[in-house]
Amino acid sequence: MIKRLLHIEQIKLLNYNPFRITLGIYFLAFALGLLIYPAIDKEIPVISLSDLFRFPDVWLFLTWITEPYNLLLALVIIMITTKEFNHHTFKTQLVFGLSRTELLLQKLILIVVLALFATLLLGATSLTLGLIYSYKITLSIALDNTYTLFRYFLSSFAYMSMGLLVALLIKNTAMSLLTFLAFRTFIDPVLFLVLRKSEVKWYLPMRTTTQLTPVPNVIEIFQKKLNSPDTVDESSLEIIPEGLPDWLNILMVVLFTSLAIWASYRLMQRRRFV
């Protein structure tokens, strides 16, 4: 059944221009990463950006850099879900034999596939850059920090689940896109500032999700490099300690994502598709 539902989504998506365009932008963004960072490198003396592309630092660095790309994927989910309302195609699928639960499952399967795809792309990009820029490659150094891929998958999955909820709630494409982006760029950050004196600020849904892929301590690596320019130091990036303990942060994201899926399920059962 899963294969069948995925195939239905595949027909819908691969022929849908906004999806193709967004996916194109997504690929382009990754490709530019591969080409542009090394180019910038030549213009900055002493510090070399390529230091960031060495194993095992490359995993953390690229995860942080490419995190906003996940927003594009969430926008795709919002677009295709709201379009089902616009075109009344949820109704058609119901009439021909899908259940309301299957309608939701369809989108969830798609979310998992897109999140896996994004994670694999990040993995492949990091691996390529790492292999190019590392001085010394051993398996243990190369694979250190790869757990960050799991965080990236979770981040991608969380964004898309929240996007799905917004789409099912609002139904209108433009309004849903705006609401979602407003949450990420405005509402959540403002709340963060308002709550700055309280610990609650670390528990906001978007904040916990961005905290999954935190800013690596880039300064530190350059300092090390400046202090001992000749040593080949396989320094490992450290994450600036901030916010919730790691496990709690991950737990919060899992909790928010589960809530979003549960709410989406309830909405799907109740929506009128006429």
Binding site: R4, H7, I8, I11, K12, N15, Y16, N17, H87, H88, T89, K91, T92, Q93, L94, V95, F96, G97, L98, S99, R100, E102, R272, F273, V274
Partner: protein
């Protein structure tokens, strides 16, 4: 005849409007069941509930003798109101989605497109179709996989006369093959031509249901006048040829029994040595009968 759809005390309201009120229907295998009613009588609401689009407020229904489930709809071909497909996909790809939902191979797509006379347009996007073509694609989708039950809601809506005739032909063919048909329509002649059973709805309530022949029977009424109306009236009253007999403005108005023709009346009068000099057939049209049926309740 096994049970296909059984509706028990179904009710549905939209805020203050009672769309369907305590509706009960039984539809058996092989019936061509018409649901007839004016606009807003609850036909579409009823069909939307049994095809899983809407939830009823009260009552229940069973498909094939079992509690409703999404998977049952895979053996039902439905067209509810206007058909909705992905506008940016071509016809073939839209139908592939339906095949995937039903869990069937794509082999049947060309056949149904040919039946709906859309085969030449199979690579056109859905959004480029005219209203009538969209409607025909809806019918093609309903025919996919040769389902044992067809649920069609106003299938000839938006079609030109030629299209209407073609769709009726396609639907009649399905009925002849023994498929069960549930057809909602506000057009009396459509129900009369296609269906053998009919339920008449008005404001969400069932007014009448039964075989088309009984419910929408065309009683033949004639008016006549002869040399001696009184004598003829007396003779006819005892003849067993007429159901009703009245005098109106100096004319005899007879409602004929089944299969009795005006010619037989004429012959009968002649036997009685009465010469008829005025004989007009006053067929009560179905339309007026339908309107009568619907009006009675007001």
């Amino acid at each position: 005849m096994s049970e296909i759809l059984s509706i028990q005390g179904l009710s549905k309201s939209y805020k203050s409007v009672k769309a369907v009120q305590n509706l009960s229907l039984q539809i058996s295998e092989g019936q061509a069941y018409g649901i007839l009613g004016p606009n807003g009588s609850g036909k579409t609401t009823t069909l939307s509930i049994v095809t899983g689009i809407l939830r009823q407020d009260g009552g229940s229904f069973r498909w094939f003798g079992e509690a409703p489930e999404a998977s049952q709809r895979k053996s039902i071909g439905s067209l509810i109101e206007t058909p909705h497909f992905y506008p940016y996909l071509n016809l073939e790809k839209n139908l592939r989605i339906i095949c995937d939902i039903k869990g069937m191979a794509y082999g049947d797509i060309h056949r149904v497109l040919k039946t709906a006379k859309l085969y030449e347009r199979r690579r056109s996007r859905f959004s480029t179709l005219s209203l009538g073509m969209k409607q025909r694609l809806g019918i093609a989708a309903a025919l996919l996989g040769d389902p044992r039950v067809l649920v069609l809601d106003e299938p000839t809506n938006g079609l030109d006369p030629e299209g209407i005739a073609e769709v009726r032909e396609v639907v009649l063919e399905q009925v002849k093959q023994g498929k069960t048909l549930i057809l909602a329509s506000h057009i009396l002649s459509e129900v009369e031509k296609i269906c053998n059973h009919v339920a008449i709805l008005k404001k969400g309530e069932l007014l009448a249901n039964g075989p088309v022949k009984e419910l929408l029977a065309e009683d033949e009424i004639i008016e006549l006048s002869c040399s001696n109306n009184e004598k003829l009236k007396e003779k006819l009253g005892n003849s067993g040829l007429v159901k009703e007999l009245e005098t109106e403005n100096g004319l005899l108005v007879l409602t004929l029994k089944d299969k009795i023709t005006p010619a037989e009346i004429n012959a009968f009068a002649f036997e009685q040595k009465l010469v008829i000099h005025h004989l007009v057939s006053r067929k009560r049209s179905l339309e007026s009968q339908f309107l009568e049926l619907v009006k009675e309740e007001e």
